[in-house]
Symmetry: D2
Subunit: 371 residues, 4 copies
């Protein structure tokens, strides 16, 4: 009998990223998986995770532009591990899957959602297509009409720490954006407990450049990014309405949110620094520890810690620490994730695990590669 990681005594009990799921998963049929648009960074990360997932059967990987190219030719890191060849998206082939991931620009999942859902295929959409519940609001921020508003009621916002039970039952998942994941997890417990003022939430966020995607653009060139730090989108970022919606839902009122993103000269990682106004003193640390006690992917560090993006790189973890600035009655929360994992592909797999009754951590137990 294979006993999984529990045979490894050095694995601490703090956050048991169990491997028992592997046994569970493979006792049933592997999940037939389709990935639409896997030529970006979110896509290659998803393929990396699925290639070592104990219950995943990668059925089809599509890319209109790269049809015929072996995936491992485009991504040499996958040589020997993924032998799929990019195919043009085809409803019939995709319709033969148990679940289809969309790692596409916004608008694509709108078009394919109906035919796939009608065939009984579940959808995990890593794009922004179903994140905003109000189609008018979506249209305003994304500059085009919403293409599938009929599914907005049923789409579940795939933040397991908030919506675990709905996710288990969902047909259509909107995987949260990277910033929204890092920011929401850092404020959730306090808003739920009513410990901070919902009218005064400031989120100063910093991201590595893989968040901008794998697009040929001068702004993303090494020589432009290296040795540079800058803010961007100070006039408004598309993740603002998404975060605002999530936090408002939790707070039970419209939240006053400032969200300012910055670009860090590194590839992966998001660091969110939250400035909150507490309603008097409280044991905020206990609040977080209790809220996330059973969460396999949220690590509440001792107060005064400084979470580092390198400590979550390549993993589905969110690490959080609290701090109180000197001579101030504000409260700070520091939160880090890997934008491509907990901020995208890893969270998508976490959703899949929940939807298919697998151990939530299946395929997500790799440790951060440091340094």
């Amino acid at each position: 009998m294979w006993t999984g990681c529990s045979g490894l005594r050095s694995v601490a009990a703090i956050k048991p990223v169990s491997c028992r799921s592997m046994t569970t998963a493979t006792s049933s049929k592997p999940i037939r998986i389709g990935v639409v648009g896997a030529t970006g960074y979110t896509g290659v990360e998803l393929l990396r995770l699925l290639a070592r997932h104990p219950a995943a059967n990668l059925h089809v990987v599509t890319s209109r532009g790269e049809a015929g190219t072996p995936v491992a030719t485009m991504f040499p890191s996958l040589r020997g591990a993924v032998d799929a060849v990019f195919q043009a998206p085809d409803e019939a082939v995709l319709g033969d899957c148990d679940v289809v991931f969309f790692a596409t620009p916004h608008g694509v999942a709108h078009g394919l959602a109906a035919p796939l859902l009608e065939r009984g295929v579940r959808i995990i959409d890593l794009s922004a297509d179903f994140r905003i519940r109000d189609p008018e609001l979506w249209a305003r921020w994304y500059g085009q009409a919403h293409g599938a508003p009929q599914y907005l009621d049923e789409a579940v916002y795939g933040l397991p720490e908030l919506n675990r039970e709905q996710i288990r039952a969902a047909r259509l998942i909107a995987v949260p954006g990277c910033y929204p994941t890092a920011v929401s997890l850092a404020v959730l417990p306090l808003l739920e407990a009513g410990l901070v003022d919902p009218d005064d939430v400031i989120a100063d966020a910093k991201s590595g450049v893989s968040g901008a995607g794998r697009k040929a653009q001068i702004g993303g060139l090494f020589a432009e990014v290296q040795e540079d730090f800058r803010a961007y989108a100070s006039g408004g970022h598309r993740h603002w309405p998404e975060i605002q919606q999530t936090l408002s839902g939790v707070a039970g009122q419209s939240v006053g949110l400032i969200f300012q993103p910055h670009l860090v000269p590194m590839t992966r990682g998001i660091h969110a620094t939250l400035y909150l106004r507490p309603h008097g003193q409280a044991d905020w640390q206990a609040c977080f520890e209790k809220r996330y006690h059973n969460e396999p992917f949220v690590d509440v560090m001792p107060a005064g810690s400084h979470p580092q993006t390198s400590s979550v790189r390549g993993t589905n973890l969110c690490r959080i620490a609290l701090a109180q600035p000197p001579h101030s009655d504000r409260l700070m929360v520091l939160s880090v994730i890997d934008n491509l994992v907990k901020g995208a592909a890893g969270q998508a797999v976490q959703n899949m695990n929940l939807m298919f009754g697998l151990e939530e951590t299946a395929g997500l137990s790799g440790l951060p590669v440091f340094p």
Copy 2:
């Protein structure tokens, strides 16, 4: 007659970094300069600037630990430009200078200030020794008694945009810290004009790692910093009382300040993101443009711009832009400097230029090396 850069029509008039100073400077005797403790990053940057300064005569460079080593052996970038050899610090030799720069850890300038000032040598101290006016406060943040409190009244805080006239007459300059420069310049005009609430100033600041100095420590190793982003000193940073003192002086009341620094995986550059609470609407852009109109080293960019640290690298410039977050009544100010230039060595030279009646921009007209 040499007409300096004015002969170069491509040099725009926006910020005339004039070279006329060269003529001015060399019509009089070169300034005899001593540099104490030039083995760090601030020191090598100071030597780079002085080696090409039209009025500087580098008389002595001291380092107790490196006495006998040619400067250019330690810093190959200075081969052929600096032929000085590190000497042990000696009061007589230093006393023979017109001005002595201290690029030392805190505490060193305390000890040498008296003998040098008594010999009529002017001092430009890049360390923190004379920045805080209250010796008790200094002792609390720096963990040792203040070593020369008798000079605190006379020491001038060397931020030319604030104290230009006092600097001209000063014998002893406390060059501002790097973060305090970036933050103070970003708030000064608004506090002076009474346009924002002095009780609610949040400065989220990010710095390249050269700010931590050239010390053998694991935390500064490439493998620790690369691909990592983190906050630090969330329990309180020594630049907090310095910024607080400056802003309070401007506001005419004790300012409520949060200052949270972060470490960016790059060598040079500071980006400060300020969250301020304005007293209603006002033409903040005009306020900044008017305030800094004649400043050679402050560039107010069009509102909505995103200043980049790479656009000031290697120069004494501070670039600033304003932004208003959507659905918020807050005001943001974005400010960038090169921490080793405007945040240290360049500002020190700017002070020297003022003290010796040179053109303020002498030796500081180099352009950012991009990319």
Copy 3:
């Protein structure tokens, strides 16, 4: 029944990094493991791999300087995965292990080898202590007398692609250096087949800075390494005699070798560029493909490919490609590894797997994290 990765159809057959070993391993008792000196980069990488190894039981982790510190406090990336606390090295505790890894500076394993081997503990030494067969030669390059020459005859040079059978039977393994691994694998097939001139081997090698270890030294600071490229040790590097010994053993004669290392501003990765003089034309590609056909960790890419260090990051893989320079009768071989994995900790685990009868790939099936 858990069917391992074979249930995952997307895993190609090119290099079957099988997971069957897990089943094998756990059918018997877990291996009790000691790690001496795990405070460096090689050490933390070893702990990362062992923490997810299906047959590993981390019994003790020692560090004289850090005794009492939890491993995960020093390395936050291991929080929740390694709950060990550093202990002072103790012969009794180490003597209770099945195998002890040394991730120490040279000289340490010399001292502990005898007592451990006498207790029946197997040793996998990641340091240079037992790599050079001639103790005089070792003493010359390492600047001190050899401390345990009596074990040199029995020590096995742990390059599985060369010495697989001896490794299975060994008590004492000298894990090859990082450069020697990358260079040796790139020349082995040609020297074995007598296809190139053994008198004229040039290896121009480039390494990320983690190869210099986790030592507080100015030369390793971010600000010194970033945006810099340089050669080092042009007067002779300690890996020269090691490579020379390996290649000479294969060629059956003393090999004429030039080995010049360079420092790359990145954390992980080695790229070796070999310039060889072939004895006339031959099917070099076929030679490599045949030689490494069954090797789970050597990937011979199509001729003309350009192996990238990022394509092996975090993994035990060596990727190799051949090229012929235009207008030349020379042959080039390009070879990449991750210096901390195939060049150190991963190869050490590969050796352990062989020594304990596990599947050779056990615990080493993670994929490169790209980007």
Copy 4:
């Protein structure tokens, strides 16, 4: 009287980068300058140098695609220093210049050379259009017919260390490529003196990514380049025939050359490592020192030094050191330049200085920004 840098005693005499040229230059009329295609990295670097050049008058900057955009909008680093606006290229306006620089892709200078030369405008071409003397060879490597073969006889290869006198008299300069500059300067003295075998020259070269230009392409993205090292163009690089031509000219016979470039995860800098076969022992160090004694931009370091790209960053310097590998009769030469300065824009300005009778170092005296 302004005495230039000679008033600065700290400026060593090793390589007197004199500033006297400024006086010289401005005693006569400023040079009217046109720059064609300044939207790339070579272009912005050229503008940086020209904006502070004492004799330069930037008359027109052209870009077909960016006509109407202020240069400083595209390059914020030039704000306040360059007020030019990109114009569509126009023969009349360009024809009004004293000299026109081409910082364009290959093929463009071919088309504009005739009309400009006929109007008496001198041309300094930073592209590859006039580097190869044989138009057939050029056509083979650049994939198109040569567009102006009638000027090949008169075009001067602008390597001042080789062709200084011809440059002074030239109308049309082909500025050498970046790799050819670094490699040629490292071998010239030895080939001229007949000290090494011209049939066996191996140049292993490494470059920062700015050498690939400012083009929107996935291969240049930060996330692709960061933490990666790779060879490229192992099947043949366009700089091979250029280097081969230069070295053959010097050696008086066709040189046997291997040239293999690699990509370094940094923005600027080239490091060339040369493996040469000497004809017996000789005082190679003296050979280099004598050959480059009067060269203002070549710094021969002590034997055994390791030149660092960071020590020449932003400057027109080439630093060179010799080494002899242990147990080998080969000779190594290590050579570093900044690919955008001595490898492009700086060398172009050096050529202009020579053509217009200015001090050769005019406008090129800035020191490396380190760190």
